[in-house]
């Protein structure tokens, strides 16, 4: 595959779709995968694979329920990995039909309006360490470029870039763990059932 085309309309539309319709459900997806018995170290691979599939989408206007789409897509990744002899816990496969569907329903915060979304986005930035947060506020809330941000903070562009990478990493991690901190506070936390722990036990791969 060739390098991605930047600034194209299609790419921008995809980024918008993924950023607003998919990313907010990633934390739930990860929880769901863990409950299916996927090992923590396998999670990132599976999630990356799921996002990679989104790249193949030519259009996404027809996706009425992005959350359900995301979960279905993850389910397909799991099935394919099992068939390709990758290390995936079988509970996964075994429970995909039974356990999966109930979790795919719309999340309570999905209906929340743009004000809630602003709170969520600002919450992500707010939770960053001091210098990181300042960089993100200037760049994202006030729309400054990297060079302008460097001047405003009297630091080098190189440092702004480093803080940007670090902050983005932290924000992605936040989204992977809790969605957004603010949303987390509103949402009843899923308690880990003692029984969940056992599910790691049953595995099956095609060894071929």
């Amino acid at each position: 595959m060739a390098g991605i085309v930047h600034n194209s309309e299609a790419r921008r539309a995809l980024l918008n779709f993924v950023g607003t319709q998919i990313l907010p459900h990633e934390a739930d997806l990860r929880q769901w995968l863990l409950r299916l018995g996927v090992k923590a170290h396998e999670l990132d691979d599976i999630v990356q694979d799921v996002y990679c599939r989104l790249l193949r989408l030519e259009r996404f206007e027809h996706i009425e329920d992005p959350r359900a789409y995301l979960f279905r897509s993850a389910r397909n990744v799991l099935l394919e990995q099992v068939r390709r002899n990758r290390v995936v816990s079988i509970v996964t496969v075994q429970n995909l039909d039974e356990l999966g569907i109930a979790d795919m329903g719309a999340s309570p915060e999905a209906a929340a309006g743009s004000r809630a979304e602003l709170t969520r986005v600002l919450g992500l930035i707010e939770a960053l360490p001091e210098r990181c947060r300042r960089v993100f506020e200037l760049r994202k809330v006030h729309g400054l470029s990297q060079a302008e941000t460097a001047r405003a903070m009297s630091i080098s562009e190189n440092i702004v870039e480093k803080e940007t990478a670090k902050g983005l990493s932290l924000i992605l991690r936040q989204m992977a763990d809790n969605g957004a901190a603010v949303v987390k506070a509103l949402k009843p936390k899923l308690s880990q059932q003692p029984g969940d722990d056992k599910r790691g036990g049953e595995r099956l791969y095609v060894a071929d």
Partner: protein, 323 residues
Amino acid sequence: MSRIDEDAARWVARLNGDASAEDRVAFDAWYAADPRHQGAYLRAEAAWTMLDRAEVMAHGDPERAQQALDRTVRTARSAMTRRYAMGAGMAASVAVAVAIGFALKDRLSIATRLGELRSVPLQDRSVAAVNTDSRIDVDMTSRLRHVALVKGEAWFEVAKNPEVPFVVSAGDIRVRAVGTAFSVRRRAGGADVLVTEGTVETWTVHDTERRVTLTAGHEAFMPETPQTVAVTFRPDDVERRLAWRTREIVLNSETLREAVAEFNRYNARQIIIADPAIGSETLVGGFHVDQPDTFARAVHGALNVPVSIGDDRIIIGTAAATS
């Protein structure tokens, strides 16, 4: 978060900052190298783009924008303390109910039904774990501790007593131990002997001179008729093949045919392979002995073959039986 995710975040920062032509070339190489890179990059760039909404939305909400600015002077909080410990405790133990009987008499018989597993302390403080559909006859005297494996399979943890040998007979096969742990399983024409601790000596009654010594981690099939015995050293495999002691079947590249035969040892609800062509597919995995349906669903997912799960039997590999 994986290394790939961090790399992706770095590339987003670089390409949205001040990227040189060389950076672009390096990025293209990284991006093309692995589909996971492409997925991770889309994810990171989508998050970066999503954050622009702060600007868009805040501009329609000056109060919030001002608040956001005000906050820059206040103390920062660490995002990291909020993290869940994901996946912690995923590997908790599995409780196993084991029927325990006491066998304190000199002579006794222990028999198990299909699917039953019994772990029985013997008079000499040894322990016998008796697998499904098996029977042992125990005979303890002051000169000899003798256990006859009448049928099936049993594992013994032998209490040390050098004065009194502990001997298991399985048909014509004999296995002798002094303070050790091992299992014996009867097979057509001989017996499997697996040693988990210490040393055992095994032989066939047709050639008592030729004895095979097995130490921990070794396994051998002892044929009734005198012939060369192949001994293998596979400690992990020995433990794996004794998973039945915790009511588990652990497969490591066994064929579907062999795996099904294992499940059928434990359950009246027999599994039938309807399509002989798939019998040689090999499988890796761990299951409970009494959950053949779980196994069948796993096979369905892994081999992509139809499976019909009924109350009395389970059929793998026939299109007509798909439910």
